[in-house]
Subunit: 344 residues, 4 copies
Amino acid sequence: MKIGIINVTGYAGIELARILHRHPEADIVGVTGRSAAGEELGDALPHLARLGLRIEPEITRSVDVVFSALPQVASAEVCIPFVRDGVKVVDISADFRLHDPAVYAEWYGAKHPAPDLLETAVYGLTELDRDGIAAAPLVANPGCYATAALLALAPVVREGLVSERLIVDTKSGVSGAGRGLSMGTHFSEVNENVFAYAVDGHRHLPEITQELRRMRAGFEPSVTFQPHLIPMTRGILDTVYAELADGAFASAEAARDGVRELYAGFYADAPFVHVVDAPPQTKQTWGNNDCLIHPTVDVRTGRLVVFAVLDNLVKGGAGQAVQNMNLMFGLPESTGLEQLAIYP
Amino acid sequence: MKIGIINVTGYAGIELARILHRHPEADIVGVTGRSAAGEELGDALPHLARLGLRIEPEITRSVDVVFSALPQVASAEVCIPFVRDGVKVVDISADFRLHDPAVYAEWYGAKHPAPDLLETAVYGLTELDRDGIAAAPLVANPGCYATAALLALAPVVREGLVSERLIVDTKSGVSGAGRGLSMGTHFSEVNENVFAYAVDGHRHLPEITQELRRMRAGFEPSVTFQPHLIPMTRGILDTVYAELADGAFASAEAARDGVRELYAGFYADAPFVHVVDAPPQTKQTWGNNDCLIHPTVDVRTGRLVVFAVLDNLVKGGAGQAVQNMNLMFGLPESTGLEQLAIYP
Amino acid sequence: MKIGIINVTGYAGIELARILHRHPEADIVGVTGRSAAGEELGDALPHLARLGLRIEPEITRSVDVVFSALPQVASAEVCIPFVRDGVKVVDISADFRLHDPAVYAEWYGAKHPAPDLLETAVYGLTELDRDGIAAAPLVANPGCYATAALLALAPVVREGLVSERLIVDTKSGVSGAGRGLSMGTHFSEVNENVFAYAVDGHRHLPEITQELRRMRAGFEPSVTFQPHLIPMTRGILDTVYAELADGAFASAEAARDGVRELYAGFYADAPFVHVVDAPPQTKQTWGNNDCLIHPTVDVRTGRLVVFAVLDNLVKGGAGQAVQNMNLMFGLPESTGLEQLAIYP
Amino acid sequence: MKIGIINVTGYAGIELARILHRHPEADIVGVTGRSAAGEELGDALPHLARLGLRIEPEITRSVDVVFSALPQVASAEVCIPFVRDGVKVVDISADFRLHDPAVYAEWYGAKHPAPDLLETAVYGLTELDRDGIAAAPLVANPGCYATAALLALAPVVREGLVSERLIVDTKSGVSGAGRGLSMGTHFSEVNENVFAYAVDGHRHLPEITQELRRMRAGFEPSVTFQPHLIPMTRGILDTVYAELADGAFASAEAARDGVRELYAGFYADAPFVHVVDAPPQTKQTWGNNDCLIHPTVDVRTGRLVVFAVLDNLVKGGAGQAVQNMNLMFGLPESTGLEQLAIYP
């Protein structure tokens, strides 16, 4: 497969290049970058020198699939012509995640440039929609927080085991904020510091809500989604709190055992989602495509608590994008993604 | 005031020495250490050389007040004789926080060596019980997480504005785990990592529950308290989620304004608790005795969310201990604690 | 003393505000900031709210001393009128450190706006020129690296014990690069990373060379000064390598003992420079005005190695500036600077 | 190839497992661990669960090659029988690096258990002795610091371009200290801290000296080797200072150009050693087997300065061990080691 990467100089693009470089079926034939067009990739990013590519202003060579790692709005504009031309597209930005153009406009402050494609695009949370992704011309790769939250909630929501009032408290490394400079990513401000942000609403909330709603007919979730920034580069931990539906289990202890069994079964065939017996650590997924989930019940209060971790740039970004590409081209979903986490 | 510090070589003890060294009314006359007895303090801890003290096996000189920075169980044993002798004691360990010996035994796995003193001891969350602390012979200094959680909840619980089902999701730096070696505090394991711990119950839970119960007659809290470890040395952020009581406010927006006003008034006279207009950052309290609180309401769900930050070793430990000492000796509570946070 | 702080919103300015707030003889009457003029200081920097000041476009109230924490060039322009008006000035920038305008022009790429003041200004390395500083109308506060390097070398250079070929290998936290945004201070780029920078010459080199030359008649140093950036916020470690002068000591062992004795004597009366028996750690000076020095001799090669650590924003910046102000106003040099390091 | 890993539970062992898991010719058939024998590997180290191995007390199955990741002394004892039995061994410990048993005894405080094997063992710095390694029954994998220092110095030492008095100032992440607990690897002590250690001599010094001596007849190096610990998990930066031999180059500028050309040529065929045009960053080698080298000349002093970075657990440990194994079995040296650095 001939591959183009749009905006290779951002963190998602860099990660795509790293993963696809070792993918046995992939051949990166073109890469673009917003500010560095014309430079050798190895000059802009020395650790990618081995790819021997030049950063172009746009993808000009014929490609089978394009990955866009541009920010929202800009991404849609670049992706649209490829989709219209029949080139498969995986968009890592948020531009095709929301099906309702009005919701898009509300959260992203822009009129969507191709509302018709919103119906065509498939939300690319691989484990929850393999068939849809395999058939899609355009995959909207999910947000990093959303990936963890939806994987953490899917088994119990689909089974109707939790109430609609949900809390997702997340902790993220700084690379999720990208490579753009800001006081909120300035080393001396972020190091030895933790704080909440986006208290008036984070853009991953509407996609979480949209996808939860699709999991079960009539389920109308009311989610408080609260992200926090912590002083590390990679990794996301979502802690999800939910009230078990009345009568769902005979006791809190039964619930604890029951949800573990449910999750283990639900993800039994997923090569990258592992249901684990203890609270997972982001370090256990550093640099690879795994998502580790530990569902439990606080037996004192009867409340469901689910922990999910992943590497925001891999399963929460470039890795899942490649996983989706594999499905779109009929490859085993783990092709090129088999490497273990780097620990410590 | 002549002061003894028991176990000066742990992080709480080191911090007591730092603060009391600059306290205008305090004179440190004796310090003990578990393993380093006989050494010069400046040999064990070079940055404390200026104090010119030797680490003794026990406090032998006459003192007006003793601070214990020993771990639980060991601490009670050392404190008891001082209390019996009429020396004022501030215990930073958990040994005198719980009033019920049975609860103590359940959480700390030991029979309490002086159950009678549990009734005498006053829970030392300064802002919530100044009179009790001022009159107390023995103050049980609160846990770091508990301090943040209780300050975050006191205004709404006292006013009956929230339901009894509460969630406290906390993020803590590593120094809270103390100076003892463990895989969970080994640099390479903790750096670039975040994870939940104590999922089966953390020892700060019973003190949080006990103190919430005392805030309002008939209030029977059901708290999920979930701590997480993050890769930094100092600082705690408690994120508290609560459902507003039915009919408490006319609308979510009104609730948001109302709780801010309530908190601002509640802490108007507290020199160290500041109600702030944006999510606070632990770095804003690095090394000083402040607790910053930001109460808000998620208007989409109507849920109360309160953020509280503090330095676990200062307001969450040695600083609050000195604040309590000040009250016990009739000094202004901020004496010796006026320094600003060190930023960045 | 009525004090003005120019550019309070950078890291040096923030640190000046923190230290002077607790200085018993200082009264901050005006603060300026480049971008935040008109804002309340507590809105721009919440942890400084207690100062109750507004950020002004310039210092308009009558002051006894002005501290400038502006970057070079801009700083000189603002300081000059104060000096001309007889207000004492401590300039934390590099603008008055170099006595030779040609050298200034070479390293800072600008013609100096007041070459006459270069002769008036006193290089403010407190321990090496207390009398000069006490009498100076204008003190040029040294660079953070230069402070550590010069304190590490002064005893042996003054005594003629080392050859002129010197190596200073330094390791610095990121706050030394200031609050301005750049890829080199972006959290995800700097965290888990170490690298050398300024390999073609760092601006602290000419001031190090100038001051070494002044230490001993005829000493013409040839210094390789190589800084490295490491992933922490505060702290500098200078490792200095020098060849002992031929015949200076009878043996390498004798040299090791001899230099320790020399340094201990040299700094015996300095309240902030401590000659220690083991390699010092930056954490032992975190947030305070100490410089810890450990001179030793590699007995296998006979080479002198000196380690010096300090907090770049305190002894390497705002702290030394206040130490100098104390001398300029006839106060004990440690006034307002007595606090211990915050550890850990 | 059937492979055994001795002490898979230390950081070098964990890294061997990660790399060999994806090596196309390798099959890990047995792993041992000191404390965890009997446990499933996935219980001790969840991110290695996919290997489906049990930790054994010793390697019992037939193997073609054994890697030992035990600490020194213990490692020799376990390796010796394999060598005697004709199984190829790569020892990551220091036990077979020094050819002189007396030097071993001096630095490691133990009599070597098999002095005869010291002559058989080949020092495994791949790029400097490919033929020796290919033919060796026992390879002594170099120390992480030594790998960087020797690669940084080999071109100029072999050509006789530098004097014998050398300085190697190194900065290392904490994982180099291993997984054993100590105050020097306790998070709160190491974070936000930098310090020198091993000032009386580090164990990598004798192997550096031994190998430098072998580079050029009559070269008798006098090396000051000074390591520093910095707050990150992985990565080493060696900064090497050397005086150019008299008359080696016409000018400092000529020297700068000359050494770059020399290094580029010297490593032209090395797949993992890259001579780069700017000071390299450890992050550019995070998780992969590269060593990046930037040689330059300080034109003000005429001194050679060489920067070399690598990942201490990969090129400085497990990666180079696999590179050596490849040569020992006639495979291309980069087999299984092609992955790019993970950035950021």
